[in-house]
């Protein structure tokens, strides 16, 4: 188990290094000089040079990469070109909206998908199964941001149960914040839940065809007991993979959904930074998103080993 964890950890570190190099390189090849852009076209050359020195743009590429990575490791993400404010603080403020939103949505999607998938698999071919699969077929076809707009139309504009957008901030109370994130989380979660339900169902059905399910039935377990005691844990392995992948999609989706609900999250930050060519912000936010995805997949790898004893001994 320890060796397995170390091995995954090593691959996590390698992935992070490669990802940071890729992101840094892409941003490096961006045309235009940030210092000139910040000072406008009428700036004096020596003012530009001074700013370049201040931003560290006159150093070699390798030094700048090492500075950037070293800074991130110590929590210093640099200074925004446009706001002249520490990027770390800007990200931290926004992260308190985006991360809860993604986790809220992930929880919702799992809570919906597990029972729905198990229900459908247990009633394979029946009316219940057909309605669940029909609903998921529709669910995977709905764009989440459009679904969000429809939720706003129904629950905010017509029924007035929720506000149409905005975020009061956590300091004004936990429930107020959760309420503001509820419609966005539902919009994000339902299409993902549809996918997860399908995976749960088909994974369970595969397992239910395995020999050891027949062995369990021969021991005297009912079909239902066999499903719960032997099917579920084995079916979880592919489902975990999808949950890991979904986290990436939820983070990305959160960025889009924030636009629908005018939420002050990472999405807003990054789109403003793109229009203002504030590349240090773009670079750091992207790195953060990729970091989150890689870490979540590391956790999923560990979860595999918890579920599947074969992985623990295999090294």
């Amino acid at each position: 188990m320890l060796r397995y964890t170390l091995k995954r950890l090593a691959s996590l570190v390698v992935s992070l290094i490669v990802a940071s190099v890729v992101i840094f390189t892409v941003v490096e090849i961006a045309p235009g000089d940030p210092a000139s852009f910040m000072l406008g076209i009428n700036a004096q050359p020596d003012t530009v040079a001074a700013l370049r020195a201040e931003l560290g743009l006159d150093q070699s590429k390798l030094d700048r990469y090492l500075d950037w990575v070293g800074g991130m490791l110590t929590g210093d993400f640099g200074t925004s070109y446009t706001y002249r404010a520490p990027v770390a603080q800007m990200i931290a403020d926004r992260l308190w909206v985006s991360l809860p939103l993604a986790l809220y949505a992930l929880t919702l999607s799992t809570v919906i998908a597990f029972p729905a998938g198990i229900f459908a698999a247990a009633r394979r071919g029946g009316v219940g199964d057909l309605s669940v699969t029909g609903a998921t077929q529709l669910g995977v076809a709905i764009p989440n941001f459009w679904f969000a707009m429809m939720l706003v139309l129904i629950f905010a504009i017509n029924l007035r149960w929720f506000s149409a957008g905005g975020f009061p901030g956590w300091d004004r109370g936990f429930w107020g914040g959760m309420k503001a994130l509820t419609l966005p989380a539902i919009a994000l979660a339902l299409p993902q839940a549809a996918i997860l339900t399908r995976v749960m169902r088909s994974s369970l059905l595969d397992i239910l065809g395995e020999d050891f399910i027949r062995t369990a039935r021969a021991k005297g377990l009912s079909a239902r007991q066999a499903l719960w005691r032997h099917g579920l844990r084995n079916a979880l392995i592919p489902v975990l993979t999808i949950i890991g992948l979904q986290f990436a999609f939820l983070l990305a989706g959160a960025i889009i959904i924030e636009q629908v609900f005018f939420l002050p999250g990472l999405g807003r930050l990054i789109f403003q930074a793109i229009t203002q060519r504030d590349l240090i912000v773009v670079e750091s936010v992207v790195m953060l998103l990729v970091f989150a995805v890689i870490v979540v997949n590391f956790v999923v790898d560990l979860a595999y080993a918890a579920v599947d004893p074969r992985l623990r001994t295999r090294a």
Partner: protein
């Protein structure tokens, strides 16, 4: 033929024909603004109503279908064109250095959702439909590489492949002659699914302004424009949204139908 295949095939065909038709004819121009006739609900002149500039929504949707289909199709092409050879090569030398490198690269790309790739590209080169194609296409590569490798690996263990090796054929030749045809069904089905995901992704990207730029009509853009009008005129948001749902649903049904028709045991990847 299954019901899925007929329903999905018909829906897909309708959209493709509408997109092709838009090259030669649309009910109305998509650039002519008519402020007086804005936000009209569906009526005899404008079957699906007009938008906030008074443009005919049906015409906009027909032209927008072109963008969506083109972006998603080219992105699938990129994913298959690069992913399938990589997957075949990885499986042919499974456990080797090449396999390891290809699979690690795949894992890495999976950490970059297409939206993140699009953000990076846009930050550097500015927004365009090409960005959307590249971003979605790059994300498709590991999907195709993975399923190709997975299926190819199980085929390499089959005795007919051993027989071909005993017949002196090279690994490359076996990959092309024996493995590829036996992966083809899966690729067709997975391609249909990636096509539908591409439509969704393109809509999302152009909704946040990272995809096709005005004046090129696109479905996501139409929804972004409709957002502030949704209380006044719900149809401007409802109709393009339902159009996307119908197209994606059609492709998914087609994918399921093709799978049932070709080989019901195919294991496709869904994310």
């Amino acid at each position: 033929m299954s019901r899925n295949l007929i329903l999905g095939g018909t829906l897909t065909l309708v959209f493709v024909l509408a997109a092709l038709l838009s090259f030669v004819w649309t009910p109305d121009g998509v650039e002519a603004m008519n402020i007086a006739g804005r936000l009209k609900p569906p009526n005899a002149d404008n079957l699906l109503g007009t938008d906030h500039f008074g443009r005919d929504i049906l015409s906009m949707l027909m032209v927008g279908a072109r963008t969506s289909i083109a972006v998603a199709l080219v992105a699938v092409g990129i994913g298959m064109g690069i992913g399938v050879p990589l997957g075949l090569a990885a499986a042919a030398r499974s456990g080797g250095m090449l396999d390891e490198v290809i699979m690690r690269m795949n894992d890495l790309i999976f950490a970059f959702p297409s939206l993140v790739i699009a953000i990076l590209i846009t930050a550097v080169f500015g927004p365009s439909a090409t960005n959307a194609i590249i971003a979605i296409g790059i994300f498709n590569i590991p999907v195709f590489a993975r399923i190709t490798r997975g299926t190819a690996l199980s085929l390499w263990k089959r005795e007919f492949i051993m027989a071909a090796r005993v017949a002196g054929k090279t690994r490359t030749r076996i990959s092309v002659e024996h493995i590829l045809p036996n992966v083809a069904n899966l690729l067709i089905v997975q391609g249909t699914i990636q096509f539908s995901l591409g439509i969704l992704a393109e809509a999302g990207l152009s909704y946040v302004g990272l995809g096709a730029q005005p004046p090129i009509p696109s479905w996501g853009r139409m929804l972004a424009d409709a957002q502030t009008m949704v209380a006044l005129a719900p149809h401007v948001a409802l109709i393009p949204g339902l159009t996307i749902v119908a197209m994606v649903l059609g492709l998914n049904l087609l994918g399921d139908g093709l799978r049932d028709a070709l080989d019901p045991r195919l294991k496709v990847a869904r994310t």
